[in-house]
Structures are given as C-alpha cells and as structure tokens.
C-alpha cells in the first residue's frame, strides 16, 4: 500500500499540474482512462455484491428445497422440490420459541438500560461547565484501553450473585464508552449554549432542560442508540454463554449456536435407527439449519432499510469525533 502522508486535502497536488502539455490530447486519453476505470470499478463492485448476496440467496433457496437435491448439489439458482418441512420443524421446536422470548426480553430491557444510562451520562459529560468533567471523562476513556479481562469480569458478576439471572446478560456490557463519546459529541454539536442560557434565565433546572429540551432535540441520536443496542443485544451470545447455566434462560443466539454449530439435533425429531434413516435424518437436520438461519436473520434484515439512514448518520458523528 502506498498511502500518501499528506494530511491536508486543501493543498491538493492536482493543482500544481501544469497545463502546458497538450491539453486536448491528454483529456482525450484520460477520458478513455476514466472509462476503463469506471468499467473496472463497476465490475469489482458487482462482483462484491454477488459475493455477499449469493451465499445468502443460496441459504434461502436451500431452506425450501428438497434436502436430497441440496445434498446432491442440484440446487444452484432455483429451489428444487419445494418443501416447508424445515420451517415446520423450527416452529414446532420449543427451544427456539423459548429462546426467542428470552431474546426479546433481554433486548428490550438491555436497550432501555443502556440507552438511558448513555444519554444521561453523555449529556452531563457534554456540559463544559460541570466541574471535574475532564477527570470524569478520563475515567471512562481509560476503560477503552485497559480492561480487567474475562476472568475477573466473570468473578465480579458471580460475586454480585448475578449468575443465571437476566442481569448478567443485560448489565455487564451496558455502557460502551465509544457510544458514550458519540452521544457526547452529538450533544456538544447540536445543543447550543445560548439555548441553555435562555432556559436558565427562565428558571429551568438542568433536569427540566435535559428532559424537556435536549431529548426532544436529539431524536436522531436516540434512534441511533436504540438501534445500535437492539442489534447488538439481539445478536449477542457470549455473555449468555458464560453467565447462564439454566438453558430455559438461553437467548435465541445461544440456542442457535447449540443447534447450528454444536449440531445438537436431539429434539429436531430425529431418533437413531438404521443407517438409511440416520442419513435421512441428517439431511433433514441440514434443512432445518438453513431454515433456522433464515428465520433468525430475517427480523433485522427486514428492518435494515429503515435503519440504514440512522446508521449512516451515526458513522458520520463517529467520523467527526
């Protein structure tokens, strides 16, 4: 990689390009160059899109195809021998429903805790007139660079008596410092000081100002924070893996892990028999896995177009620091 080390885009070297070479000739040549570049760029991007989409598309068609056809490699572009057995098995599987229920609870509770803590904390830290602000901020930033590690975190959660409770899933990761920083810079950039001073003249306390003025003005931030946490909590499995023993409390992702990756097919309705029926059972299990991938990813994929705008905005807040 040859990355230029010039940090200032304003001194664009392109300006220094002399114009005394045959201008028309060059721009003509560049036109061809640009066209070649456009074709190349479009081709690369189309290939990337294909590389992202095809595996997902394949899983969707495999989930509704006859498992034998998939097994024999006959499914490439279209489903063959359409069946909904995979989905039927999923919907009959109580572990999935139970996991889904737990995930919904953890997601709602976790998001509520995280977002409210972050918004309140970030607002306080955004106030330049709060004595001790810098030291308090440092307290947060340090944790980005040094961390006590998995083992001591586990021991702390255990000492708090939170093992096997909802709290072990929603509390240990509740406040991400990165999100706190994003929220803080949002407040710093969008809430003008004059507004606060005017409100204070009218006798508004910090509480009233925060709840009545700041929050209503921060809807894009609130949306972003909610979505970031919903996605993270919906997709997380590791805290549940280490802190929960009771499988009736498992969130969906942990249930999925046990079925998809650990190949725990016990209750997908297959019991051992002769080899032929075992092989058939294997294929049904594969079919169920395809269907399971579809079902578990569908909610977020459907919500994606709606969320995209907010995430792009969030990336920009992050980029500006």
């Amino acid at each position: 990689m040859s990355l230029t080390t010039n940090p200032r885009p304003t001194e664009a070297p392109a300006r220094t390009r002399t114009t005394d070479q045959g201008r028309p000739k060059q721009s003509l040549r560049d036109k061809y160059g640009d066209r070649a570049f456009n074709i190349g760029a479009t081709a690369v991007l189309l290939l990337s899109i294909l590389a992202v989409v095809y595996p997902l598309y394949f899983i969707v068609i495999a989930s509704i195809s006859d498992p034998n056809a998939v097994y024999e490699g006959k499914v490439w572009l279209f489903p063959s021998g359409v069946t909904t057995e995979g989905y039927e098995r999923i919907f009959a599987d109580s572990r999935i429903w139970n996991g889904l229920g737990n995930t919904v609870i953890y997601t709602v509770l976790g998001t509520a805790i995280s977002v409210s803590t972050i918004l309140c904390g970030a607002y306080a830290l955004s106030r330049k007139d709060m004595p001790g602000r810098k030291i308090l901020m440092l307290l947060f930033v340090i944790t980005m660079f040094f961390d006590g590690g998995l083992i001591t975190k586990y021991l702390v959660v255990r000492d708090l008596g939170m093992l096997d409770t909802v709290w072990a899933v929603v509390l240990p990761g509740a406040v991400g410092v990165w999100n706190l920083i994003i929220a803080r810079s949002f407040f710093e950039h969008t809430i003008p000081n004059e507004l606060r001073e005017a409100a204070q003249m009218d006798g508004a306390t910090d509480f009233t100002f925060f709840f009545k003025m700041v929050l209503p003005l921060s809807k894009p931030l609130i949306m972003l924070m909610i979505m970031v946490h919903v996605v993270a909590q919906w997709n997380s499995f590791f805290d549940a893996l280490i802190f929960l023993n009771d499988d009736s409390k498992y969130p969906l992702q942990l249930v999925l892990r046990n079925i998809l990756i650990q190949s725990d097919v016990s209750s997908t309705g297959t019991t051992g028999g002769d080899i032929a029926s075992y092989a058939a059972a294997q294929r049904i299990a594969e079919l169920t896995k395809y269907a399971m991938i579809v079902v578990s990813s569908l909610p977020l994929m459907i919500a994606l177009p709606f969320m995209q705008k907010h995430f792009t905005k969030g990336a920009m807040i992050g980029a500006v620091k």
């Binding site: 990689m1 998995l150 083992i151």
Partner: protein, 324 residues
C-alpha cells in the same frame, strides 16, 4: 488540585467577588450548582466502577492464588508464578503465534479492503447504484456471529455444502474446511471481510463526502484522471480518519474476533484456532484455573496496550492524526 474551572459565558457571576480566599467556597458552590448533572452521570459512573474498575482491581489475582473464600484481596500472593508457567507451557508459542497470525492477516487484508471499496463506491456516477451497493455490502454486518459461523458450517460442509458441491462439479476432492487446521485462517479472514467490510466502508464514505467538491472540479479542469484524483485528493482527504481507525484497530488487535474464533473451533482445527482469548476461556472458565487464566488475560491486555502506545507514537512522529 489546581485545575481552573472553565469560565462561564453570559452567566452572572455567582459570588460578588471571586477573591482568592473564597476560591474554595466558590468551587464548592459551582459543584453544588451542578448537582443535577452529577445525578445524571451517576448511573454511568456506577456502571464503570462495578463492571470495569472492580474487575481491573481484581486483576491482582493474576499474581495470587485466587480462592473464592478469600476473594480478590485476601488470596495469597504468588508473584509471577502464573506468568512463568504460561510462558513455559507448551501452548505458549502456539497460542501467541495463532493470535498474532490472525491479527496481522486481519490488519493486512481486512483493513484496506473497506478503504478501496469506499473509494470505488464514491466514484460511482449513479446515486441509485451507489445507495444500492452500500446497502447490500453492509447488510451482513447485521447477521450475528453465531449465524455467520452457522452459515460457514452448512456452506462448507464436506458432504452437502455449496462450496464442496462446486469443487466436486469441477472434478476436485471435497475438503473438510471446518475440520482442518490449515483452512482456519483463510476462512476466518475471508468471513471477516465478507461480514464487516461493507460496514467499515460507511465511515470512509462519510469522510469522502466531507471533501470539498471544488478540489475535484479544479483537478478536472487541469485534466486529472479519476485515478489521479483518487490518489491526490481522496486518499489524502481521508488519511486522518484512516490513521485513527488504524490506531484503534491496533489497540484492539488482540481482542477482536475472539467470539468468532471460539465458535469456529472444532477439535480438529485447534492447532491454529486456539488464540490467547479462547485459551483464557478454556483454562479459566471451563477448568476454573482463575488466577492462571487471569494472568494470561493480563498478558494479552498489556501486549495490546503496548502496541497501541507504539503505534500512536509512530503516528505522531509521522505528523498524522493521533488519538491523543
């Protein structure tokens, strides 16, 4: 404490005369006037004290023989015993090597790809195609790690997987991807790019959008080709963001992807897939060697911190954007 309190603009001074002997009471007054802000901050402070600083305090068990009865503080000191045991263990070279391998591969391959994608997408003429490309490329970021690894297992399955079906169609022998040590790293990195490149691209696109279009217009007038404009306008324009993200990536070098590595582990690929953090998980939580594994975790954190400091200094020397 001799920190000065930032002056407040447009607010009447609280005390009639900020005399020197009054400065303590003045400060107390300012603090007490901000009490509602401290109340707002309290939940977040409690959170980091309990879930960040308490575990940090507990890191001392890396130098102790932890037992649950004595807790963090009372357990007997053993010095560097656990570190020495780790360094001398036969897993040490393997585990550290594996960690560095996927970290460096990730940095060399997975870090530049989003930048290239962003530069290409940014050059697209059609706004609709631009948007479409963005949406499609970043959608895998919303799929959970569990499901991504689940997809690997089904798509790469030696008997019925898509990839092996294609290999057999081309006359090759099926490969047991998830069960072979030499395939772990390629699969790990490729899946990382597949899942995250599109999402990382967004930040660079935002930075590219902030570049003054007048620069491009001027360059066009001067006859600069697209490639030249990318090289001389776009790349320098996003360099500060690239540097900061690079330093952050270094700072997280040894932490990222631990969950995925754990999920991808099978008994057959352990020789390449066991990294420091998965080793900590196995030794610590599955075999309850708390002090030993806490020592390994601390080793990992310190190594990480050292890398971060080194690279931040390099960036500063090179006059680039830095974290601090």
């Amino acid at each position: 404490m001799s920190r000065t309190i930032p002056a407040k603009r447009g607010r009447p001074a609280a005390a009639p005369l900020p005399q020197r002997k009054n400065s303590l009471s003045l400060r107390l007054k300012r603090i007490s006037r901000a009490w509602q802000l401290y109340v707002l901050l309290t939940p977040a402070i409690i959170y980091i004290l309990v879930f960040k600083y308490w575990p940090m305090y507990g890191v001392q068990i890396a130098f102790k023989n932890y037992n649950p009865v004595d807790g963090f503080t009372e357990s007997p000191w053993v010095g560097l015993t656990h570190f020495i045991r780790f360094v001398n263990s036969y897993q040490f070279g393997q585990v550290v090597g594996n960690t560095l391998w996927i970290a460096v591969l990730g940095l060399l391959i997975a870090f530049p790809i989003p930048i290239i994608l962003a530069l290409l997408v940014n050059q697209l003429q059609s706004e609709r195609f631009k948007k479409f490309t963005q949406t499609v490329l970043y959608s895998p970021a919303f799929i959970s790690t569990v499901v991504v690894v689940g997809i690997m297992f089904v798509v790469l399955s030696p008997r019925s997987g898509l990839v092996n079906n294609a290999i057999q169609l081309g006359g090759g022998e099926p490969i047991f991807f998830m069960g072979s040590a030499e395939w772990f790293r390629p699969i790990y990195v490729i899946s990382d790019v597949w899942q995250n490149a599109g999402f990382s691209m967004i930040v660079y696109l935002a930075a590219l959008a902030a570049i003054d279009p007048a620069l491009h217009d001027a360059a066009k007038v001067d006859g600069a080709s697209k490639l030249q404009r990318i090289r001389h306008i776009d790349l320098p324009g996003i360099m500060p963001v690239v540097t900061i993200l690079f330093i952050l990536a270094i700072g997280n070098l040894l932490n990222v992807g631990f969950e995925k590595a754990l999920l991808m582990q099978t008994p057959l690929n352990l020789s390449t897939s066991e990294i420091i953090q998965t080793y900590v998980y196995h030794a610590g939580l599955q075999q309850a060697q708390f002090s030993y594994s806490a020592a390994i975790g601390l080793f990992n954190s310190l190594l990480n911190l050292a890398l971060l400091l080194v690279f931040n200094t390099i960036a500063r020397r090179a006059n680039q954007a830095t974290l601090w």
